[in-house]
Homo-oligomer: 156 residues x 3
């Protein structure tokens, strides 16, 4: 399946992308510098344009956290598609910074952020879908969203 394009994989997997989130402040959702695309910190936007909220370890559990990370990945894909025209312009994932809104005791950030990383594998493939990553715990995130992820992609 590795030879399917990202857009074909989205179709095959019946993935629905949420609306591309509007910036919550003075920034661009995405910026291109040569064949490098920088993506702003995204939150978990649902298909109904709502945000998934709650701190992992107290208000939500790790599986809800992982689901929020997946939804954040879908929001990033939506921003990429709406700004670039097609996900097929993406060659590979370079880097993600996965930030979990969680309690000081929480310790399963990699499990949570895999929600986004596994989605990117599904869409971009076993090699191109996997970049470098940090998965870490934040004191708080805007409007108490559960996850914020920023990313860098390489274009063809």
């Amino acid at each position: 399946m590795e030879h399917l394009s990202p857009e074909a994989k989205i179709k095959q997997l019946n993935l629905e992308l949420p609306p591309a989130p509007k910036p919550m402040g003075v920034y661009k959702p995405l910026l291109q510098d040569k064949n490098c695309v920088y993506v702003s910190g995204h939150g978990p936007v649902t298909l109904y344009n709502e945000l998934l909220r709650g701190k992992v370890g107290s208000e939500v559990d790790k599986d809800q956290g992982k689901q929020a990370a997946r939804q954040t990945g879908l929001a990033i894909l939506s921003t990429l598609r709406s700004n670039l025209g097609s996900l097929n312009k993406i060659k590979r994932v370079i880097k993600i910074l996965g930030m979990v809104n969680c309690t000081p005791e929480f310790g399963e950030h990699p499990y949570v952020i895999n929600g986004c990383s596994e989605l990117f594998v599904d869409v971009f493939g076993e090699d191109n879908g996997v970049g470098v990553r940090s998965a870490v715990g934040m004191a708080s995130l805007p409007e108490n969203i559960t996850i914020e992820i920023e990313a860098i992609f390489e274009l063809h």
Copy 2:
């Protein structure tokens, strides 16, 4: 006004830059790689070379936080000018990571970090002054400074 150079805009707006901060550890304030300039995490340095301190949500409020973010932006401009010779060498903002020292309950990070982002719009313009961004909440920052921001700029 978009056609004014960054240095002309600084003059027009009567912006005063604080002294370029000396590193608090083993790092360079700024590093150039081809036409890309990486800037270390900066704190809110005042004109009197003091640091603005206090956690947003308990010790200081969101407007003091926004003011600290603006002051952090001015410190970044000072580092850019003193290392590059002139802000006119900057073509555009690529990316900022805006880190707010705040309580676990705080949720208005975008409002706070806009203090820096709006400054960069004033200096570099509506398009070139706006890059990608993440705005997030940290458990703590060095010496209890209110804000730390790292950035990437593109040179002409």
Copy 3:
């Protein structure tokens, strides 16, 4: 001593590198894009392949934190060597993001992260070993590790 290669310096200083850490999730430890090498967030892996754990300011003190940052730097060197074949392919440090698992009151992040930065100076030299840096406090880190550091290096 600046003229010694990184591998020669490792030998001269009798530095022992821990085993290159296996990813704790869906990511690559290292990714090369032209002459730029991105390194995933690494934790403090010991020579016995254990992780140094504990929050700075409550469970461990700042000197244990600094030691953990140094060990994290050694783990990064191990990943670089095992993926690139030799540390001599590294030209210089571009950037590190030093994340300290600490209490909300902790304020000496630069002191702690110097544990990694001083190691990189020892190995890569006074100029090439020093990049830009942010040193910040996280609410929590995976499996309660004391430090997580991600980095960007430039290749020759």
